[in-house]
């Protein structure tokens, strides 16, 4: 039945849970486009036949046109919703996607991600004299300083008064919250409850 491959793409999206993106279904998209081409070609000859005087072709033309619209909607929704998830990833993973996640993106999606990165960065640079990183300060600030433990060797880290701290695995530090938040979000540091 027409439209089956298209709805399969949508079910695939629905199965993705909290941002885990499946690989781009190149084959599925290709098959839907092929189905559309076949439907369009058949419609062309039925329209041609009707012009020649055939009378019983119009129901099929109407049917195929409906299937074409359906396939188009599913394809565009498949692309659009994947871009929604890739957009969310920028805000969760940061401007560089981990390799395994990036592996699931199509080439065009990677290009889109780079474009999004660039326009987001240039927008944020316009905020105030030296820009405002909107991907930080994601929850209301609590006490100014927090105690953290390193989950891995990270090396030099410059604290707010210019002095630098060496972050070795399992070492513990008392750092300015707003400076170490990004490292906590990335899983480099762990916030130890006071």
């Amino acid at each position: 039945m027409y439209g089956e491959k298209a709805i399969e793409l949508i079910h695939e999206l629905q199965r993705a849970v909290n941002g885990s993106l499946a690989p781009f279904n190149e084959e599925g998209v290709r098959q839907v486009l092929e189905e559309m081409k076949a439907l369009y070609d058949q419609n062309q000859c039925d329209v041609e036949a009707t012009v020649q005087g055939e009378k019983d072709r119009l129901p099929a033309v109407q049917f195929r046109h409906t299937c074409l619209e359906r396939n188009k909607r599913c394809l565009l929704a498949y692309l659009h919703n994947r871009l929604c998830m890739i957009r969310d990833m920028r805000w969760e993973f940061g401007s560089v996607l981990p390799a395994e996640v990036k592996y699931n993106l199509s080439e065009q999606e990677v290009q889109w991600f780079t474009k999004y990165n660039k326009s987001l960065a240039s927008y944020m640079r316009t905020l105030g004299q030296d820009g405002l990183d909107l991907t930080q300060d994601r929850s209301p600030p609590k006490s100014l300083y927090v105690e953290v433990r390193c989950l891995m060797d990270y090396g030099e880290f410059e604290s707010e008064d210019g002095s630098s701290v060496v972050l070795k695995k399992n070492s513990q530090h008392f750092l300015l919250r707003s400076l170490c938040e990004p490292l906590i979000r990335q899983g480099v540091l762990e916030h130890i409850m006071s």
Binding site: Q108, K115, L127, L134
Partner: protein, 225 residues
């Protein structure tokens, strides 16, 4: 403490709408109200670019003041905490706007293009640039990946009909800043008996659909909570 933080922050800020001088504290209150309104309104509200710019300036100034303080000065931590709090409100406010711009990008750009010269702008110039780039990137992705491979009569996208729009009938909580009279709650119900007219007292709190209250939120008569 060798240097005092000399100039007080009572610097005068005059915004063009009303001529009254607004203190930094007033601007901060306005920013917080704009933040909550934006957070709860389903649609994108007017740009408060002057308030944002003023606050960014204040933060910049305060951060410089704090750098002048000597290590261990009592005020460093207090100023830094306030700076963190204000920066949180600012970035949360701008994030919420950005998300709405992205979610309704074609709708927003269309609405902005139909606004009169005297009408207040929805987008700041920088937001407008971001929105255009974002809309363009969506379109080029759809075009390159699927649309150009489709039969000729299907290759265009009717942008106005098919694009996501904010749900203006969403329910919101609000508080009236001033008394409002004769507010129509269900304007689009033709049968009269369902169309309710309500008087709202100052300070009262309500839950109702956003649509009838949208203009009152914009004018500041009510605030979303």
């Amino acid at each position: 403490m060798s240097e005092e933080i000399d100039e007080s922050l009572e610097n005068e800020f005059s915004s063009d709408e009303e001529e009254v001088e607004m203190t930094a504290a007033d601007v901060l209150l306005k920013l917080e109200e704009a933040w909550l309104n934006e957070k709860f309104a389903p649609d994108l509200l007017e740009s408060k670019v002057e308030i944002v710019e003023c606050m960014l300036e204040q933060l910049q100034q305060m951060e410089e003041n704090v750098k002048k303080c000597k290590k261990g000065d009592f005020r460093i931590i207090v100023h830094k905490m306030e700076i963190d709090r204000i920066r949180y409100v600012l970035s949360s406010y701008l994030r919420i706007r950005l998300r709405k711009i992205e979610k309704f990008v074609h709708h927003t750009l269309h609405k902005e293009s139909t606004r009169g010269p005297d009408e207040p702008k929805m987008l700041s110039p920088e937001e407008f640039t971001f929105a255009k780039e974002f809309a363009e990137s969506l379109e080029s992705n759809s075009n390159t990946v699927v649309l150009r491979h489709m039969p000729p009569n299907l290759q265009t996208l009717d942008k106005q009909k098919l694009v996501p729009k904010p749900n203006l009938d969403s329910y919101v909580f609000l508080r009236a800043n001033e008394r409002q009279e004769q507010i129509l709650i269900e304007p689009e119900l033709e049968d009269e008996q369902n169309a309710e007219v309500v008087d709202i007292d100052a300070g009262s709190q309500y839950i109702m659909r956003y649509r009838p209250m949208g203009s009152l939120v914009a004018s500041g008569a009510v605030s979303l909570i």
